[in-house]
């Protein structure tokens, strides 16, 4: 398929399908995230990119036999490896009998929240999740380093705003509907944030939903308006603070005489300490994820505006 637009749409559908597959496999948290990321954010980003890079793929002339060769070798190796695997759904497979029974049987006494995935993610393996937050932070900084454009003067900003205003005048219905929807989306994000202990959800998903609301706003009301609502420096600050918040929970437990991320020492009652620790780190995750998603989107869209602005000035110069 040579039309990238169709390819991206299909890959979005693939994301959604795998999300529903995850539901069927009992992985509701993962499904939630995959739906938000695979079908949502990454599709959106790719669409923004092809508006800048063109949507047609050029046909290649050479026959990719070597690629086929590599792929067949790896695939064959993997199939060979599957032959000795425990069968699908078998309850006696090693993974179900070594570490996981403790998570399932004891997490209620040790951590005291019903969603085991959240207990493992936020307490038993809190450091992995910290790493995950740092990964997303790194990506945000990386995108910033690649795409950020030095801030233009105010008057140019206004000019863009006016262009945008005239452009978006036509989408009156969508704008009003969105205006009504956005508060509910934000509210839903908060619900997901707090509900992570009991059902599927948590900081990451909440962050993505929160960012989606802001991105929706930016798409409909123009980037410049959205930038005026949410300042670039401010959002970078939030991203940094999210990481720091998460890390500080660890540092505080160090100060209180426990190991890093040992929530038991955060409060006199270990269970209360666990609750407190998980609550705070989920906020850290939410802050960083939401702000990094917004940073990424703003920078992609900002670059696009910068490009079209450059083209315009070139045009006017050449016509003169």
């Amino acid at each position: 398929m040579k039309d990238l637009f169709a390819v991206i749409m299909l890959s979005g559908i693939y994301g959604l399908l795998s999300a529903s597959f995850f539901v069927a496999m009992d992985a509701v948290d993962v499904a939630f995230t995959e739906a938000a990321v695979g079908a949502g954010i990454s599709t959106l980003l790719m669409l923004v990119v092809i508006t800048m890079t063109g949507r047609k793929e050029k046909p290649t002339r050479h026959k990719p036999i070597s690629a086929l060769f590599v792929v067949i070798i790896t695939g064959g190796l993997l199939i060979y490896g599957t032959l000795d695997m425990p069968y699908f759904g078998a309850a006696d497979a090693p993974i179900h009998n070594h570490t996981s029974p403790r998570y399932i049987n004891d997490s209620m006494q040790e951590i005291g929240i019903p969603n085991i995935v959240t207990s493992v993610l936020a307490s038993y393996r809190a450091f992995d999740t910290f790493g995950e937050v740092v990964v997303i932070f790194t990506a945000g900084i990386g995108v910033l380093a690649m795409l950020s454009v030095a801030r233009r003067k105010e008057d140019e900003d206004d000019e863009i705003a006016s262009i945008n205003d005239s452009m978006h005048q036509q989408h009156l219905v969508i704008r009003i509907v969105a205006k009504m929807l956005i508060p509910f989306i934000l509210l839903f994000a908060l619900y997901v944030q707090f509900h992570g202990d009991f059902g599927p959800g948590g900081g990451f998903q909440a962050g993505v939903i929160f960012a989606a609301a802001i991105i929706l706003y930016a798409m409909l009301f123009g980037l410049a308006t959205a930038r005026r609502v949410i300042n670039q420096t401010f959002i970078q600050l939030i991203a940094a603070i999210g990481v720091l918040l998460y890390g500080c929970v660890g540092l505080v437990s160090l100060m209180n005489g426990g190991n890093f991320f040992d929530y038991n020492v955060l409060s006199s009652d270990p269970i209360a300490g666990q609750h407190l620790g998980i609550l705070i780190i989920e906020w850290g995750v939410g802050c960083t994820v939401a702000s990094v998603m917004v940073i990424i989107f703003f920078n992609f869209a900002g670059r696009r505006q910068f490009q079209s602005l450059k083209k315009q000035t070139k045009h006017t110069e050449s016509s003169k």
Partner: protein, 492 residues
Amino acid sequence: MTAHLPILQVIIPLMAAPICLILKRAKLVWLFSLIVSVLAFSVSVLLLQQVMTSGVISYELGGWQAPWGIEYRIDKLNAFVLLIITSISTLVLIAAQASIEKEIPKDKHTLFYVLFLLSLTGMLGIVATGDAFNVFVFLEISSLSAYALIALGKNRRALWASYQYLIMGTIGATFILIGIGLMYQMTGTLNMQDLSQRLPEVAATRTVFVAFAFVTVGLCLKLALFPLHLWLPNAYAFAPSIVTAFFAATATKVAIYLLIRFTFSVFGLSFSFTTIPLQTVFMALGLIGIFVASSTAIYQNNIKHVFAYSSISQIGYMIIGFSLSSVTGLTSTLLHLFNHALMKSAIFLALAAIMFRVGNVQLDNFRGLGRQMPLTMAAIVVGGLSLIGVPLTVGFVSKWYLLTALLEQGWWPIAALVLLASILAVVYVWRIVEVAYFKEPLPDRAPVKEAPLIFLVPIWILVIANVYFGIDTRFSVQVAESAAQSLFGVSL
């Protein structure tokens, strides 16, 4: 606080990165990151001391016992690697301030330091952890920041090099992820120590064999072993010079560390080297890599390219030592990790200084530099001699151990080939020396001054280290040898 050293090692640069973003002012951020790096360095010194005297340190994150929680496990091997990384990062950061002034646009300076600290964090995290999945997470932190750092290079080819690195690196990381998944499926654990105890039970299965294959191939992609090295030369050549100096000395070392960790500690010696013909494969690839990369280096005109190819060939030496699966062989690999970090960071920092003064590192522009920048050029010469393996430099020590290890097992043809390959190194180093000292400067290049002190100090610290550890080998050999011995002790 000494009980918490393992986690402080990683957490100090990690927490510093977002603080840098808040501080904003580039000069301030530079000073701050330098202090952080010095702190990390002192932590690693203390760690090494502690490990050498009292043995393996285990640290349970979150207070959860090992196979359920994540464990940090510091033994002699990773304490040694941690020391290498933090010392190089400190020295490189000193010169960073002046170097990025010329090579990176002003508004990106703060971001540069944030990314630098993040990639330092990533590497330290990979090395310190004792949990297989945690390795993957920190691998991604270090790689993502590496892609961004490389793409900051001035030349547009930096972007393309970074993209290629991103594709190759992500394929490598995903391969590792598949391997870890397969291991987890067969054993039900992610902790390395626990894996090493539970893997032998299922070692005969095809799944474990495939897991091993995937982890190894993924790591070889990351460490740029021939023929998976194609991403490296351009990434090194077009990255900002400071970034090159840091990565050339550390990034591939971390991958080699992981390879050693997985083959020796996790899968175990008997599985890695008897069940699988790893020895022959690695020795062959290492040798071919040395010859192909060294001879390619001879034909390069961009000096950064020359030394990037030379890095690939040096990886070949390390892999040969590793493939011998003997204590001496592994000692030579570990020694070479340390020594190669010293030489390459000296050379690439000197190139950064030349970049600072001259503006590029094409061979033609080196004419007359021997007289115009005598101290910088002298550093390159000493580094070059060390690469060749001349006595009284560190290069000699590691080559000596490699040759001893080869002869110990009667591989004298390979030993001869290794010696022959050193001649290739003589050729590519001589080309630079000849141009720099015996040719008149190009008429259209304005004469340049010696590099400023901010470059010369770290460069010459490294040069002196190159000679010092070439003469007084007690420290490096002792640590490398006892690390190698402990690895064999565990698995035998």
